[in-house]
Symmetry: C2
Subunit: 305 residues, 2 copies
């Protein structure tokens, strides 16, 4: 029942020997979803032993190079490794041409399909769902069109336990309705309610990725109560003017958003290369919000049930 | 009087943790020229401490991803580092759109100029020259349009020595003509010839880069007598059929080209990722041609005067 976020790159702007630019893989019960794919992401996947070929969905926040320049290489490698499953890519509309122009120039006819999902809206939208999971966009306030992404388990069903099934001799055909929360009906069940026969549903976990963005309270309603919020902190707060002018945030501002959105845990990343040490980020954010972690390449954060 | 070739990537197809795909920097007397620019090349420049900003010319052999997917990232980093010199890029015609589409999508207005030189010819051409150096294309036989590059010092002038200047009291105004090989004229010089007053010119050094290519003797006249030949060897000779069908070469074939072209030294590279060790490449080629080196990332090969 995993809900793991693996940081493949926590840097910004340009790759350095200590930090790769942005990429993450979210593994939600064996659904591998990549967020952003900076140059060098392929090597990070190898380095941190993430199963390449399990990735079926790639979400690109925006078209600054430090968020997508590894994508065409990854697409090519999938081809060289003989992939045959469809790859879904979600990103700004121009990305489609960028990808297919490069495949055309290399005369590559992929051995698998790419399904491209163009993002063009300026308000939040549901862009993926299956039986357990939803992904929504989080429109961000950046220099160019940019979305964060909210990964949210769907509302789960109430649970049956062996003990209760045996105690009340619950028939199989009644189980689906009980799981949906309906009361039992029929002879002999009049005195019993759903809550007598079932256990509460497990909670639905959620992760919000917000990079790149200026401090913007407009995202607060969209990320309210998430378990984990990744919010960019390109700068420390003594550079908040520079953060504002470059449409980025500071660690303190990320923490202020975390407080307002009542999240459980805050992850910081997207540090400017000027910071050799990232100790100051966690320290600054902690003055505002207690449960914070300044992530490093290779970190995996698990959201428990 | 450097003529150094630094290998930034000796692998092929896809980056691995031991070998980056193709890129090299040739430093010819402080002219820094890059050949190919695979994904990850920026980090290789950092790792091997090559002065980024000295690179003014980038030559792209062809548009397979393992030869150019690091280019847009490098262009962006030049911008972020405040470059103001023109950058010259030489490559297949489609590359120009690929670059500028991506800059447009990121809304980047570079703080320096790019001068793009489209390569479209199928016969060799002179694509760069200054007072000491020429660069010619070497049309290769690959799946898509592909050029190697020949870096050649121009014919040098004859040299004057302090000793001879003093001995014959050579006037300053006569020196340029003497260097060009002309005999001295005027009163008192009748008995002397140029060779009495000057030393022979230093030899002109040359480097040929040939990747990617099938075994093809058509390149032999273009690379005749070069000091150093880099010839791709994606495979060992037991896979020569696969080499042929994928338009690549084997180590033995590279050595056969080296013999026919009478080069001084052969460098091997562009190894398939299937070879964990590259020991077999040097061994195989040595059976045909003695002076061979299977290069590794980070190697620098110097051509002496």
């Amino acid at each position: 029942m995993k809900f793991d976020i693996t940081i493949l790159g926590c840097g910004s702007a340009t790759p350095t020997l200590v930090r790769n630019p942005t990429s993450q893989v979210v593994n939600i019960m064996e659904r591998y979803m990549m967020i952003d794919c900076a140059e060098g992401t392929q090597l990070q996947l190898r380095k941190y032993k993430v199963a390449f070929q399990k990735i079926d969905h790639i979400f690109i926040s925006h078209l600054h190079g430090d968020h997508y320049l590894g994508l065409v290489g990854l697409i090519s490698s999938f081809h060289l490794f003989g992939r045959n499953k469809t790859l879904h890519i979600y990103g700004p509309v121009e990305l489609e041409r960028i990808i297919f122009d490069q495949l055309k120039a290399s005369n590559t006819f992929l051995c698998y399909q790419i399904e491209f999902h163009a993002l063009i809206n300026n308000s939040t939208e549901l862009i993926f769902q299956d039986n357990i999971l939803e992904v929504h966009t989080i429109p961000l306030n950046h220099r160019i069109y940019c979305n964060g992404f909210l990964f949210k388990e769907k509302k789960k069903e109430r649970r049956l336990s062996k003990e209760l099934i045996t105690k009340y001799n619950i028939p199989v055909e009644m189980m689906p309705k009980l799981k949906k929360g309906e009361d039992p009906i029929g002879e002999g069940w009049d005195d019993l309610k759903n809550k007598d026969l079932t256990l509460p549903a497990q909670r639905s976990r959620s992760y919000a990725f917000c990079s790149d963005t200026r401090y913007s309270e407009s995202i607060v309603p969209l990320i309210q109560n998430v378990d984990v919020l990744y919010h960019e902190s390109t700068f420390l707060d003594d550079m908040k003017d520079r953060a504002k002018s470059t449409f980025h945030s500071t660690a303190k501002q990320a923490a202020m958003i975390a407080i307002k959105a009542n999240v459980n845990e805050l992850l910081l990343g997207h540090y400017s290369a000027r910071y050799l040490s990232i100790v100051g980020f966690e320290k600054e954010a902690k003055e505002v919000f207690a449960n914070v972690k300044a992530v490093k390449d290779g970190d995996t954060i698990s959201i428990p049930l």
